[in-house]
Symmetry: C2
Subunit: 386 residues, 2 copies
């Protein structure tokens, strides 16, 4: 190799425990499951996985996925494969949803704070982004209603209903119903980014947003990035048949055939071998342990200096520091101390989250998490003294 | 399977030789190459292919691809891996190019006729589509210049410079230079869809459009769909570093990491095993034989009743029938006779191509191609009598 171009997305400085990345750890990647699935997929001379795939997605994959989702306690509703659509990951699905449902110049409503890349994706698509504040139950629906009554006309609303990024919180059942009422009354679609739905610990999250929808308002985005392997670039949409048809009939879909056809055929084998069910259980267990470890380290080092709601699933802690704290300012000294994180204002264009930081507990091992929190407190102590 | 959802994109009626699909034949899918590459990729416990990939693309893949392209006589220029970007196929790359270079409401120039799905993709993105006529040398640059002088301000120009879809013709060297001059003068980008560049027969096509570009006007789109396997949903962009950076830095790219990371790691093994070079040679040979067979059958059955330029590469024959012919009208009786094709007007919103039909010779075997042309002539004879 002459140029030594990077292989993976994350580049972490040597010696830094970077708690800023919401990525699975390399140790947990199911390489053996992928090996077994590949062998099974390629054992015959059937070349179907190499041809242009069906626009809705590879049929046998959709069937296996529907079975997998129906079996998951956190899904809690039976899934008809005719209501699923294959994507090349949640981001690709969301981007295509913009093409189909949010013409440039229209408005998208997001949570404040929200997934830090999504606002840029929407801006790149020429959309106006309007943030609505959240509390411990999720988006403040009453605030949204006021905006709508004042004349706001969004084409879509983007929301992360379960184990939200960055707050780790779930949108309550009541709020789900209220949001749907508003979507019906003011005629917009709800893009529900539910990629963390299956990563729960002891208690189950609310059922998927779609379970509350009696019409065709909710488009649910799922992904294998958080439950199998992000490199496979494969996900799905779950929605009413009319919506599935719109995605399937899109010119972009037809042009290349079903998105990530080969990967979906590989994942179908993973599912049929029972390895996805197993892997998701392993991830729930591992992340639960890591989340506990981070909680204990936070209690040990920070105690009452910070506030947070302990996550019951997902990838993140969302910490609130005392009045006057500036999470952007702490970052430099934290990195000097050998730890990193995402400052709160990365998650909102509002600039309201200087007191917050997001920590992910998925990429590092327990001992590293403890060490990371220790270093963070060290940096914070110096920051407080300054 | 309860619902029997389709597996692949193409659905061909039983008994019909459908010459309308520009797809590779199942018999030619390199299943053994994919098997060998998978074994090599998964032999170690390195889980890099399962993690989020580098935004520009998996580094080792870009290195191997640059070597492969540099070795191809039809490429004819050395390729720096830093000038390559991994896509999930040419269509995905083109869609992202719209986000980055063609804001909704702006204008895209296309050839008349052009790839029949691309106009719909552009329309779905809120773009105005303006067609420019072509002759045997490709787009009539003088006609485009007149439009530009009259005030047309395109953001992008989409063109298929080699073995064009549907005409099978190549844009001449002179026209390439002239188009670049116009792009510089009137400030637009050229999206060069060069997915057929490597599928040449005895003589080489002009060098890739980028070879003529001294600035940063041309974005070349390549794809493994036409040279390896469409189901892998993987392609690349070749362009100046400034353009590669723009694609790599796009929010959508960052959100999921490099497009189709795992597939690209698999294809890297195919390339490093020497199997892509071999496969492309096989395809050139096979398609050359099929193209000859179709030419001979056309001469045998139609003779001077139709006109066409014999293709020197690519996938297609573009036939012109006598004055007054209506290719849409023939379709029904052709399908009754057990053959199908794409009518000329599928390739342009202008409605100017009633006398044309496009035939692909890649999906069927030689004997089927002969039988298909025989049936087409049978249907045409009845049509002429009516």
């Amino acid at each position: 190799m002459r140029f030594d171009l990077p292989s993976v997305l994350v580049s972490i400085k040597d010696g830094v425990i970077d708690l800023g990345w919401g990525h699975p750890s390399s140790r947990l990647h199911p390489i053996e499951a992928i090996r077994m699935a590949s062998e099974k997929l390629l054992a015959s001379d059937d070349s179907t996985p190499l041809q242009y795939g069906a626009t809705q997605g590879f049929g046998p994959f959709l069937e296996s996925l529907s079975g997998f989702l129906s079996r998951q306690p956190a899904y809690g509703i039976p899934v008809d494969p005719r209501h699923l659509f294959l994507t090349a990951g949640a981001s690709q699905g969301l981007d295509l949803a913009c093409t189909l449902y949010a013409p440039a110049g229209s408005t998208v409503v997001v949570e404040e704070p929200t997934y830090f890349v999504i606002e840029k994706i929407f801006r790149d698509r020429g959309l106006n982004v309007v943030g609505v504040p959240t509390d411990s139950q999720g988006m403040l629906v009453s605030e949204l209603e006021n905006l709508l009554l004042d004349g706001l006309k969004p084409s879509i609303l983007y929301i992360i209903p379960a184990f939200q990024n960055p707050t780790g919180l779930c949108l309550s059942n009541d709020r789900r119903g209220q949001l749907l009422s508003l979507a019906n009354k003011f005629d917009f679609r709800i893009l529900a980014d539910e990629v963390y739905q299956l990563i729960h610990f002891d208690e189950l999250p609310p059922r998927p947003f779609l379970a509350f929808d009696e019409g065709n308002r909710v488009i649910s985005f799922g992904s294998f990035s958080k439950i199998l392997a992000p490199g496979l670039r494969t996900g799905w949409i779950h929605a009413a048949p009319e919506i599935i048809k719109k995605f399937s009939d899109a010119a972009l879909t037809f042009s290349g055939g079903g998105f990530n056809h080969y990967s979906s055929a590989l994942i179908r084998e993973v599912i049929d071998l029972g390895l996805l069910d197993t892997h998701v259980s392993v991830l729930r267990e591992e992340y639960s342990v890591r989340s506990d470890a981070m909680h204990q380290a936070l209690q040990l080092y920070f105690g009452k200096e910070i506030e947070y709601t302990r996550p019951s699933g997902g990838y993140y802690f969302w910490l609130t520091f005392p009045e006057g704290f500036d999470s952007d300012r702490l970052l430099t000294s934290a990195e000097k101390a050998g730890v990193s994180y995402r400052p709160g204002n990365a998650f909102s264009e509002s600039g309201k989250f200087s007191r917050q930081i997001r920590l992910a507990y998925t990429l590092f091992e327990v001992e590293e998490l403890k060490e990371g929190i220790s270093r963070l407190h060290e940096a914070y102590s110096e920051y407080s003294i300054e």
